[in-house]
């Protein structure tokens, strides 16, 4: 895509829905006040930790499997779906649209989590 949309605090809700795009904070002011662009979720002991996270639109979430058994990260609404993750494998997804995104492990469906995007 052409150019990088600068995200300021007042216009967070106007972010476009293009996935895979990470916002570059070019001004120190925006950087200091913006939420972190990356959030980590650890998969261990048949659970996602934290089980529920709240992020700003445009944030990339990375799940890393630290369990000794494989897991997957699958959106219940079909928004994202990882390949099977063995120990130390990762999967990332950037959330551009606000909303609540429940997900689960398709191999062990009792494992559930959610991402709340503001």
């Amino acid at each position: 895509m052409k150019g990088i949309t600068r995200i300021s605090l007042l216009s967070v809700s106007l972010v476009t829905g293009l996935s895979g795009f990470s916002a570059k904070a070019n001004t120190p002011r925006a950087e200091a006040q913006a939420a972190p662009a990356m959030v980590a979720v650890k998969i261990d002991n048949f659970s996602f930790g934290p089980q529920s996270i709240s992020i700003s639109a445009g944030t990339k979430v990375t799940w890393t499997n630290r369990d000794d058994i494989p897991h997957t990260v699958v959106s219940t609404e079909g928004v994202f779906k990882s390949h099977v993750l063995d120990t130390d494998d990762s999967f990332s997804f950037t959330f551009d649209k606000p909303g609540t995104y429940p997900y689960f492990c398709s191999v062990h469906p009792k494992m559930t989590g959610q991402v709340v995007v503001k």
Binding site: N45, S47, P109, K110
Partner: protein, 322 residues
């Protein structure tokens, strides 16, 4: 590893043959430490596996004998068992050394660990050494990434759906069910409407006196729902089995031996040939359980099943790999 839940100690004399079911189930617990318990004509006998010469093959004969193995998890290589190939080979040796030759094998799933082609290939190769036909149902580890396409291509040819099928051997009707597809968030195993419809129809063409063996990966009874050890719509499947005189349900998934008798149905779960898992609720999660290396083979195993005409319950005997 053996369940100590009260529900296992049912005292119903299902066969009306005076078999002490409490004794049978106690014997199953010994099986985890090296005893072979055999029901011969309704009488329970036990033999230590360290003295196989005492097992008289002529006395332990029925119309049909087969072996259930499960959860080979080919590709797993973590501390709980760094060499699942070796332990699967020990299981094959055990099968070949059984006092009476089984006619075929049932594999109740989690054949592979990550649904990789080379993992399926390795298991195929190793089980070839038994010289027996193998019937497979998939575990959740066998259908990752490709919605079970590989499983269907390899083991499910002729199946109207995801790999479920039925066949007959010596007058016993076998039904392989698939309960690891389309799992829903927060849910358990699931059979789905299409498969249930197929099952109902399949059973209609068999008389109630036909012995039935159902095999599926995830337990068809509620072993421990908190850990996903159960099947959401199993009750409907089991309702179709009402009225049949002899129903045996063989499952895997939980990597430990458990047995439950409910009316005309005997439920049995097999040990894994790869690694054990904790008893329900005894750990944070149902992951691979590490045991001292010298004890690993004691908690892995195979299941020998025998059908004797005239007896309602199949004789199910577990033996470990030690």
């Amino acid at each position: 590893m053996i369940s100590k839940k009260k529900s296992d100690l049912l005292l119903v004399d299902h066969n009306h043959d005076g078999v002490d079911r409490r004794g049978f189930l106690k014997c199953m617990a010994w099986a985890g430490t090296g005893a072979l318990c055999v029901m011969q004509g309704g009488v329970l006998k036990s033999f230590s596996l360290s003295r196989p010469s005492e097992i008289d093959p002529a006395a332990a004969v029925g119309e049909l004998r087969f072996v259930q193995i499960s959860d080979s998890h080919m590709g797993f290589n973590k501390p709980a068992n760094p060499d699942v190939t070796a332990t699967l080979k020990v299981a094959v040796d055990k099968i070949r050394a059984l006092p009476s030759v089984p006619e075929f094998l049932l594999h109740t799933g989690d054949i592979s660990h990550l649904s990789k082609p080379e993992e399926f290939d390795a298991v195929d190769q190793i089980l070839k050494d038994t010289g027996k036909e193998v019937f497979y149902v998939p575990g959740e580890h066998d259908v990752v990434n490709d919605d079970g396409q590989q499983f269907r291509d390899r083991y499910g040819k002729g199946s109207p759906g995801a790999g479920w099928r039925s066949f007959d051997k010596s007058g016993v009707h076998f039904i392989g069910l698939v309960n690891v597809m389309n799992l829903k968030a927060g849910g358990l195993g699931t059979l789905g409407a299409e498969q249930l419809k197929w099952l109902e129809k399949d059973l209609q063409s068999h008389s109630k006196s036909t012995p039935i063996v159902v095999f599926a990966h995830i337990p068809l009874w509620s072993v421990y729902p908190e850990w996903g050890w159960g099947t959401d719509d199993a009750a409907q499947a089991l309702s179709y089995l009402k009225g049949f005189g002899s129903v045996t349900v063989l499952n895997g998934h939980i990597h430990q031996i458990m047995q439950k008798v409910e009316g005309n149905i005997t439920f049995h779960t097999a040990a894994s040939t790869a690694f054990p898992q904790p008893a329900p609720g005894t750990a944070d999660s149902p992951g691979p359980m590490k045991v001292p290396a010298e004890q690993l083979r004691k908690v892995l195993g195979i299941t020998d099943v025998q059908f004797v005409r005239g007896k309602d319950a199949l004789a199910v005997v577990d033996s470990n790999l030690a």
